[in-house]
């Protein structure tokens, strides 16, 4: 039985998804499902991190399972990040749905299934599992966005995301088919070995690679594949937005890491002149600049956070591009960044949920005016989250940015300039992040405006407490998490 050890988190999530589906059919009290979801996802995450921290060698999977799923520290790390995101979002959703009288158990099932898809995606070592994981994750996210179906915004966002997402998935699939045509393999290791041997048609490989990268860049919301992001983020219910910005992104970046390092490591495709690094740099610079600049102009906090998530994708892509030169430090930086981003983003979106209540949801800057003075305990987590997203020490976000930019500087050459662009873009980011804080603390609501009234929910409060604690702990003591990231990155590069 110990053969299955390394995919225990995945199996836990899968079975709990089916169990919650059944429980939903027979339960009257849907909020309890949120707790069950959070506990099961949390357990899976803890199992993953326990396996990772124990440092023992992972037994290979039984032979019958083939080479579709990775057995390595990297996937355990991502299991942890994704499950953490899923569990916290489920808790936030538990409070949100009850407050807004949208209670239906399907949302929790969808959260778990999306988490499952994301974990499969992060674990995939084959184009087949990559696509299936991506579809499982995407399908449930589409449905989660459209969940509040009486809202025109939600339906619009879901429709846009669905259509563009299907298109992106088709492009990714076609790219995968070209890679298969060029190499005769669907597994990343086989593709990598074949490309390394040099007996391939370079045009096919390059076109295939570009298409796969485009499909993945769509999922992380990198410019110019970001069009859906603001609408989908704004239309979705806030807990779902939190989940999307966290788990989906983490899983897509996991595939990025795996494809770039395992499938496309050859001289030809990983060189600065003709391979993927220039593509990533292109995406990264566009995302950093456009995301930050566009975020400044937003009136809605959710839209602002959507654009900021585009900018964050840019920073992470920068780290990935640097991985072509320095390898391990860049990858571990990316991993830590994703962890920090996960907890900070959940904190920000969770407190946004907490600040509003039925009929008085907090969406725009105006809604937040003076909340800091009226309800300081609800405003505090939001401010911490935003500061962490900004990269303010001593929060987790600071060290995330630090490690990524540090890797870029280590890579030397043009990457130093990229790091400078990233820093400048972050400075722009500081403006709009601080602007929210200023609005919350200094501004008073306009005359006759409906003010947001904080809701009361143990679920949301506990989610905020946990993610807030994580932001501070990873910020004050980054070494523990960083060590895990470093060991995962080292094992991957070998």
């Amino acid at each position: 039985m110990s053969d299955w050890l390394s995919i225990v988190p995945l199996l836990l999530v899968a079975t709990s998804g089916l169990f919650i589906m059944l429980a939903d059919a027979f339960s009257k009290e849907k909020a309890e499902l949120a707790l069950v979801t959070a506990v099961s996802l949390g357990t899976a995450g803890l199992v993953a991190v326990g396996l990772l921290a124990s440092g023992s060698a992972l037994p290979p999977l039984p032979e019958v399972l083939g080479s579709y799923l990775a057995v390595d520290e990297l996937s355990l790390f991502f299991d942890f990040v994704i499950c953490l995101g899923g569990a916290l979002s489920a808790l936030v959703a538990g409070g949100y749905l009850r407050e807004h009288e949208l209670e239906r158990g399907e949302l929790y099932v969808l959260i778990v299934l999306a988490t499952f898809g994301a974990m499969v995606l992060a674990r995939s070592t084959d184009l087949l599992t990559l696509f299936l994981g991506l579809e499982t994750m995407s399908l449930s996210v589409y449905a989660m966005i459209a969940f509040r179906r009486t809202s025109a915004r939600a339906v619009e966002g879901a429709m846009k995301y669905f259509l563009l997402g299907s298109f992106a998935a088709a492009i990714l699939l076609f790219g995968g088919a070209l890679l298969y045509a060029a190499t005769g393999h669907t597994d990343f290791a086989g593709i990598g070995a074949k490309i390394g041997s040099g007996e391939v048609e370079p045009v096919l490989v390059l076109v295939g690679m570009l298409m796969v990268l485009a499909g993945l860049a769509f999922k992380v919301g990198a410019v110019p594949f970001h069009m859906w992001t603001p609408d989908a983020y704004e239309g979705a219910m806030t807990p779902v937005t939190g989940f999307m910005s966290v788990a989906v992104k983490a899983a897509a970046f996991a595939v990025f890491v795996r494809i770039l390092v395992v499938a496309l490591p050859g001289e030809e495709v990983a060189s600065m002149t003709s391979g993927w690094p220039p593509v990533l740099i292109f995406l990264s610079v566009l995302s950093m600049v456009y995301g930050n600049v566009a975020a400044v102009a937003q009136k809605s906090v959710k839209r602002m956070l959507a654009y900021s998530s585009i900018a964050h994708a840019g920073y992470i892509l920068l780290g990935l591009a640097a991985a072509s030169v320095v390898g391990e430090p860049a990858i571990s930086g990316v991993l830590f960044y994703l962890l920090a981003y996960t907890v900070s983003n959940i904190l920000a979106f969770g407190s946004l949920v907490m600040i509003g209540s039925r009929g008085k949801e907090a969406v725009d800057y105006d809604d937040l005016a003076g909340v800091g003075r009226r309800h300081p305990y609800v405003a505090l987590p939001f401010i911490i989250g935003v500061l962490s997203l900004m990269g303010f020490p001593p929060t987790a976000g600071f060290f995330g940015k630090y490690y990524v930019f540090n890797a870029a500087v280590q890579a030397g050459g043009g990457f130093v300039w990229l790091a400078v662009i990233g820093l400048l873009a972050s400075a722009v980011g500081a403006y709009y992040y601080l602007r929210v804080v200023v609005v919350m603390l200094m501004k008073s609501p306009a005359e006759g405006q409906v003010v947001a009234v904080p809701m009361k929910s143990g679920y949301v409060a506990s989610a905020l407490a946990m993610s807030g604690a994580a932001v501070m702990v990873f910020g004050l003591l980054p070494s523990w998490a960083l060590d895990l990231a470093i060991s995962a990155a080292q094992k991957l590069i070998g």
């Binding site: 899968a14 998804g17 089916l18 589906m21 019958v64 399972l65 083939g66 579709y68 799923l69 807004h100 009288e101 949208l102 209670e103 239906r104 399907e106 949302l107 099932v109 969808l110 299934l113 999306a114 499952f116 898809g117 499969v120 084959d126 087949l128 599992t129 299936l132 994981g133 579809e135 499982t136 399908l139 449930s140 589409y142 449905a143 989660m144 459209a146 969940f147 179906r149 009486t150 048609e201 045009v203 096919l204 076109v207």
Partner: protein, 190 residues
């Protein structure tokens, strides 16, 4: 046998292309769907030239029997569309799209030119029910199980969007009805 297969290939390929052109060129949605049906069946024929019998059957079963029927179903539910002229599209865009098509075609043509085009005899049991089932339940067990989860996800997602109303939706409906009743009552009786 190879000659017969070549003949079948060209026959099916021609029909598939004709159907595909019909699909995009037809102005009536139902005729487009019927052209799609032709393409789908021709594709099944192409699979047969590759000895993939089961795949061909499933292609017809799933696409012709279910997907096209659903298309037809939707077209029928929506009803006949009013005559719409195709979007004008500027000359520049048309030229650009032609250039794009030419470039893609050229790229693929060049990359496939030196791929040796020899018929390789398929291994024994290839494409048969037993052969495919063997592959699916032994070698590709993991993707197969994940597909099960994917389909479950799709069903749950569809239910989540389409299922019965939530408390808030019901409350809203009730509010609306009460308001309508009130406005009806407010009007003077005739």
């Amino acid at each position: 046998m190879t000659d017969a297969k070549f003949l079948l290939f060209f026959f099916c390929a021609a029909i598939a292309l004709a159907g595909a052109i019909g699909t995009i060129a037809s102005k009536l949605p139902l005729r487009a769907a019927m052209s799609l049906l032709v393409t789908i069946i021709a594709l099944a024929g192409l699979y047969l030239t590759l000895d993939a019998q089961l795949l061909a059957a499933i292609q017809v079963l799933v696409y012709a029997g279910a997907v096209v029927v659903l298309f037809v179903f939707v077209i029928m539910l929506i009803g006949p569309a009013p005559e719409t002229s195709s979007a004008p599209g500027s000359v520049v865009w048309r030229m650009l799209s032609l250039v794009g098509i030419a470039m893609i075609t050229a790229t693929f043509a060049f990359s496939f030119v030196d791929v040796a085009s020899t018929w390789v005899a398929p291994p024994a049991g290839f494409g048969t029910v037993r052969g495919v089932a063997g592959e699916m339940y032994t070698k590709a067990l993991v993707p197969f199980e994940i597909v099960a989860m994917t389909l479950t996800t799709a069903i749950v997602g569809a239910l989540a969007i389409a299922r019965s109303k939530t408390a808030s939706e019901l409350a809203e409906m009730k509010r609306r009805r009460v308001a309508e009743d009130a406005s009806a009552a407010a009007q003077p009786a005739e």
